[in-house]
């Protein structure tokens, strides 16, 4: 029975090694990340949106995407949802008689659906090969098809259902809004904001956009005020109009640690198709678990050491026993 006692002793030694590894764990917990200070984004104000879908057409053109048809005649680009070929879409909420805009009961509302450019994006955390990355300065979440392996973990991870995959292609890529980062070097900014006739989609630094959003919420509905268009801080294209009836919530201010695309609406955000998200990003929890278990591979190596020790003992012991048997008749 010395055998068993020795083994227990080994286990104890191994346990200590494990405990040391685990103790290093909580230090690896990572907080939800905040937006970079110069983060760029969009502010979408549903009360200003007239549903013209100029932004949908402009996005198609800017990203060189083919039309998608949902009607029999195949004349107009009529996507019903974002896809690997449609990075931006205007959806509509309808209720009852649809008499009043931006009202939940017997009303309707528009909602722009495109990448939110999260402060702490799940897709970037999920991507095993860094094909999905977050620019450390602008915070734009970009995609590189030349790196991508097509595993679609980003598609599964995103709570907004944004990265989408080309299932109809043998070399399928992921498609998503990259805030027109390919157009900025020519002095352009996101096509959706460039063409928006009412300023419902406004481009700028997210910190500035957040202030603008809060200014609007603070206004009494109906107050006459100026609404900027295009780029916040760019050439003045503003117009005078009446403030809408907003819910006192800037969607994206705090969701998942904040997003760089912000939204204002008169209708409940879940009813217009946005998920109810906590303030802590799932990426932070996932990476905390991974880094607690695997920081510097301390724990795997500690366990490996214990296992190797135990295995060596067993192999020697068991081959000795086998040897003895051979000697015996």
């Amino acid at each position: 029975m010395t055998n068993r006692r020795d083994f227990l002793k080994d286990c104890l030694a191994g346990g200590t090694a494990l405990a040391t590894g685990t103790a290093a764990g909580p230090a690896c917990a990572r907080e939800t990340r905040a937006r970079p200070p110069e983060a760029l984004g969009l502010l979408y104000d549903a009360t200003l949106c007239i549903g013209c879908k100029a932004c949908v057409a402009a996005c198609k053109q800017a990203n060189d995407n083919p039309p998608e048809f949902s009607t029999v005649d195949h004349i107009w680009d009529t996507p019903l949802d974002t896809s690997a070929y449609t990075f931006n879409i205007i959806k509509v909420y309808r209720n009852g008689t649809m008499d009043h805009k931006d009202e939940e009961e017997n009303g309707y509302s528009f909602m722009k659906i495109s990448c939110m450019h999260c402060a702490d994006p799940s897709c970037v955390s999920a991507c095993p090969v860094s094909a999905m990355t977050k620019n450390p300065v602008t915070g734009v979440v970009g995609y590189d098809p030349d790196i991508c392996i097509g595993c679609r973990y980003c598609v599964a991870a995103c709570p907004f259902g944004i990265p989408k995959y080309q299932y109809d292609s043998p070399t399928g890529k992921i498609g998503k809004c990259e805030l027109c980062r390919h157009r900025t070097k020519d002095g352009h900014y996101p096509a959706c904001a460039e063409v928006c006739p009412t300023g419902a989609t406004l481009y700028g630094r997210t910190s500035d956009l957040l202030l603008e959003a809060k200014r609007r919420i603070a206004l009494k509905p109906g107050t006459i005020t100026r609404f900027p268009r295009g780029r916040l801080g760019g050439p003045d294209q503003s117009w005078e109009g009446a403030a809408g009836k907003y819910l006192p919530h800037v969607y994206g201010e705090k969701e998942y640690g904040g997003t760089q695309v912000l939204k204002l609406s008169g209708v409940n955000f879940q009813k217009v198709g946005l998920p109810d998200l906590p303030e802590d990003a799932a990426a932070a929890l996932s990476e905390s678990i991974q880094h607690s278990l695997y920081s510097n591979l301390a724990m795997p190596f500690a366990v490996l050491g214990v296992m190797a020790f135990a295995a060596r003992r067993s192999v020697v012991k068991q081959s000795e026993d086998e040897g003895k048997e051979e000697d015996q008749p």
């Binding site: 083994f7 690997a84 799940s122 955390s125 999920a126 991507c127 095993p128 090969v129 860094s130 094909a131 098809p145 790196i147 991508c148 392996i149 097509g150 595993c151 679609r152 973990y153 598609v155 599964a156 991870a157 709570p159 259902g161 989408k164 995959y165 080309q166 299932y167 109809d168 043998p170 070399t171 399928g172 890529k173 998942y256 109810d276 998200l277 906590p278 990003a281 799932a282 990426a283 929890l285 996932s286 990476e287 678990i289 991974q290 278990l293 695997y294 795997p300 366990v303 490996l304 296992m307 190797a308 135990a310 295995a311 060596r312 067993s314 192999v315 012991k317 068991q318 026993d321 048997e325």
Partner: protein, 385 residues
Amino acid sequence: MTRHEHAAPASLGGNLLNPATIVCAVLAAVMLAILLVRFIYGLGLVTNLNDGYPWGIWIVFDVVIGSALACGGFSVAMLVYIFNRGEYHPLVRPALLASLFGYTLAGAGVIMDLGRWWNTWHIFWPGYANPNSVMFEVAVCISLYIVVMWIEFSPTFMEKFGKAEAKRKLNKVMFIFIALGTVLPMMHQSSLGTMLVVMGVQIHPLWRTPLEPALYLLTAITMGYAVVLFESCLASSALTRKIEMHLLTPLSKVMLGFLVAYLLVRLGDVAVRGALPLAFVPSLEAAMFWLETTCFMAPLFLIGRESQRRNPGRLFLAGILLMLGGALLRIDGFLIGYETGDGFNYFPALPEILVTVGLFSLEVIGYIVVTRRFPVLPRDVQAVH
């Protein structure tokens, strides 16, 4: 030291062309034809995958469940070499062989699901690899484990081809590979559960927990033992060999130990997080939760007593239930309890199912060929007792 009286493994012999291998070969050929279409036209033509369910049965069945069912080698090796229970030695090679095929084909199966498969090497390339990604850990760890298992299994081939010297040398360092062969599955089997964490609120609360890695690791171990019970009973009837009850009865007790640990963590977690009331809301998720939980609970009553564990029929049934329970935990987390928004549905397409069937057929062919030509199964258990 009677407990170490084993018969040396030997090849079974017999014809490789038999109805079983021929049927399996046909199914594998069907799979290859479908895969040809998939690689020429894309995933959409042969699967029902969509942006709401970007992962279907090729990932959830072939990889997540398949690799857990292939944990027999890991579970038994842990018992024999780490807990120094040499009496289970005859179970090691057959279990390892099944694991070897399970994992190798799961690894190959991933490639056919990858949309941009020619970039696969990026996972292992320092400039591209993303250590924050749970999938990175899973991919690297499974790849390493496949290599380690082939090394662990290589003495079988060395015996066949008379490489005694090579075998002797390898055996001196084998303990390192045995150790790696226990640590690597612990790492990636737990990480397969962690993969759900980043999906956040899209996972139903009954399966949304930071304890995911513990749940997946514990069930991978119980599934490993369950597969050994299942395979031993099946092989014994199909190959008309005597059932190794003197090993399976105590083995099932070890399995029950892990099962009780799992149930405590699982039910405790659901209760503490306050998700339990959702199990009583009439829904598909709640029904699946109870089905899954029943599969895990039933073996406690089925083989809870020592006398019950001597009954091969009960062991066989308990093995099936635990395999099913572990499979359901994974299906529920990745598919049933995964909700990405309205308007998306997923049920595997026929070609998709045929590929999974074909992959399994390949495993069966491999197992038959290797056990008939190489020394894997114990010569004859009856000769010893």
